[in-house]
């Protein structure tokens, strides 16, 4: 495993999460100690062990591809922070 150093600023950018310099500093220290604790997993030999992504082995669960009732336009927009013309309003993306 990697060393218990973490570039909080870079990871926060990946997570699209604005942090204050104070938060960055505090998180860096706390995550250092948590990652230090997590290092103990390195003691275990997991050669030839299959990963478990999901505890119940179900495969290919599908349902019939049929039209069913869903949220109305109005209900889907009900909680929008900004809307107009029946759409979600977002900042300009293309010039």
């Amino acid at each position: 495993m990697a060393s218990a150093e973490i570039d909080v600023k870079y990871v926060a950018h990946l997570a699209r999460l604005a942090l204050t310099p104070g938060e960055e500093k505090k998180l860096g220290a706390q995550l250092g100690s948590i990652l230090g604790y997590i290092e103990k997993l390195r003691e275990l030999d997991v050669t030839n062990v299959e990963p478990t992504a999901h505890a119940v082995p179900l495969v290919n669960i599908t349902r019939a591809d049929e039209i069913r009732p869903s949220l109305s336009h109005e209900e889907a927009l009900r909680n929008a922070p900004k809307k107009g013309g029946g759409l979600f309003v977002v900042p300009k993306i293309v010039e």
Partner: protein, 484 residues
């Protein structure tokens, strides 16, 4: 007082027309008015809506309807969608969100006749063990208001312990039902992964989350489990396993059942009073005719570290949806990325930020295999420990928590210490098995509840309920009331 009744007691009285659902609901609302200023189990509740549902139930009863929860007031953790009610996950980021639909479990409760009311406090996005990480303030433990109710479903446990409702729902990702049930002295059940549909449960860690009940006794847990279980086309991880009549398992006869006592759970931090209570409970099981054997779960010591990789990784992906575009609060920005970052920076609290950063890091390029994939392999070893143990025993018995409820503020400055308080409950979610906490005693001074945890094999809820019920019948712990 009607608010103190169990589901089975209340439904019996309703069927005999001795009381009305309106009276029972009003009794809960009166208790909230009396004690919730101090306990703060509820973020909000709508008395008029609750009473309207109760009146509809009374009409149905008058018309001869028979349903398992008809007229029973049940309160809901603020992580489950109830149509036209607020949903905040105890976070600022959801703003004034109102659910446009019902979670599957809510549809099922309503179909069974329940009065579905209230939004119960929790750790923000179910991340925490004390309900101190709520943007809506602390919930207090009804047994000692200087102490936490546990978490993340602290409001669900406190509301049942303080008789502010007849039963409640919570969710459990690493112990978030069983640990607060233990701290508040009620019964809490985390069903097997896939037993109950997660549709309408706001996702924290999708491979670990399950919904479950908080109740005043084991029979009520069996009733709610029966109502909520079953496959759902809207959740592809719900399992098409038949739903047994759980109440039929409550025979009181556990003669010949085998219980396993894992030697790895005798850890240094185990409080002597908790240990003594669990030892006495094991003795009681032996008196009732069960056989107790020592077993080994050799990878126990790695569970907390494994959990904090897998749960945070899944959380970082799940919480990406809170971006200020389609719902919830928004902080404007010059471009979408700035809008996302500012919205999330302002909307999430410290523990959620900590877990998003950790989860993003363990999934990031160059670290994925070293952390996430490695943890998934250790998860296999942990699961195999349990499956091997269940070849030998019907259930595993442990303390639910190493100590009774701790004081507010005691662990909030040290995330790692807080994480380690979940040491006995976390493996259950990683293994995908079922677990239940039942009251098994009290500490002396102050008097605080102690929880006994029973762990069962996948879809082994009947064995857990049978054992817990027999134990409950032979003891009186569950009859003791907070503040009384």
């Amino acid at each position: 007082m009607l608010n103190q009744l169990t589901i089975s007691e209340l439904t019996a009285q309703l069927a005999r027309r001795e009381v009305s659902a309106r009276e029972a609901t009003q009794a809960c609302l009166d208790q909230i008015a009396r004690v919730d200023g101090k306990i703060h189990a509820f973020i909000s509740h709508d008395p008029a809506d609750a009473l309207a549902q109760a009146e509809a139930a009374d009409q149905a009863i008058a018309g001869g309807a028979i349903k398992p929860l008809l007229g029973v007031p049940i309160a809901i953790k603020d992580v489950l969608a109830v149509k036209n009610q607020p949903l905040n996950c105890a976070s600022k980021i959801l703003g004034n969100y109102i659910s446009p639909y019902d979670a599957t479990v809510i549809e099922k409760l309503k179909a069974a006749g329940a009065v579905v009311f209230g939004r119960l406090n929790m750790d923000e996005f179910a991340m925490g063990s004390s309900t101190e990480n709520s943007a809506f303030g602390l919930t207090r433990n009804p047994w000692d208001t200087s102490r936490v109710p546990g978490g993340s479903s602290g409001g669900s446990a406190a509301a049942v312990a303080a008789d502010e409702c007849i039963a409640s729902l919570g969710s459990d990702t690493g112990g978030s039902i069983r640990q607060p049930a233990a701290f508040c002295g009620c019964v809490g059940l985390k069903p097997t992964y896939g037993r109950i549909s997660r549709y309408g449960l706001v996702a924290f860690a999708s491979s670990l989350d399950q919904i479950g009940p908080f109740t005043k006794d084991v029979r009520d847990a069996a009733t709610l489990l029966g109502v909520m279980s079953g496959a759902d086309p809207r959740d592809s991880t719900s399992v098409p396993q038949p739903v047994p009549d759980y109440a039929a398992a409550l025979t009181g006869n556990i003669r010949g059942m085998k219980l396993g006592l894992p030697k790895e759970y005798l850890i240094g931090g185990l409080d002597p009073e908790v240990k003594a209570a669990v030892d006495a409970a094991v003795e009681k099981f032996t008196e009732l005719g069960a056989e107790v054997v020592e077993i080994s779960l050799p990878h126990t010591d790695y569970a907390v570290a494994t959990y904090y990789i897998i749960a945070t990784a899944e959380a970082s992906a799940n919480l990406a949806r809170f971006d200020g575009i389609r719902y919830g609060a928004r902080v404007e920005g010059a471009d979408p990325i700035e809008l996302y970052s500012k919205t999330r920076g302002a909307g999430f609290g410290p523990e959620v930020k900590r877990r998003i950063i950790l989860g993003t890091y363990v999934l990031s390029s160059g670290y994925h295999d070293a952390y996430y994939l490695h943890a998934q392999k250790v998860r296999t070893l942990i699961r195999n420990d349990f499956l091997k143990a269940f070849e030998q025993v019907d259930a595993i018995v442990t303390p639910t928590t190493p100590t009774a409820a701790f004081k507010a503020g005691e662990k909030s400055g040290d995330p790692l210490q807080m994480y380690l308080s979940d040491i006995f409950t976390i493996s259950c979610n990683l293994a995908g098995i079922c677990g239940l906490s039942v009251p098994c005693g009290f500490t002396k001074n102050p008097k605080l509840p102690i929880g006994l945890q029973l762990l069962g094999q996948p879809f082994g809820e009947e064995s857990l309920l049978k054992l817990a019920h027999a134990y409950e019948q032979a003891t009186a712990w569950h009859r003791e009331k907070a503040g009384g």
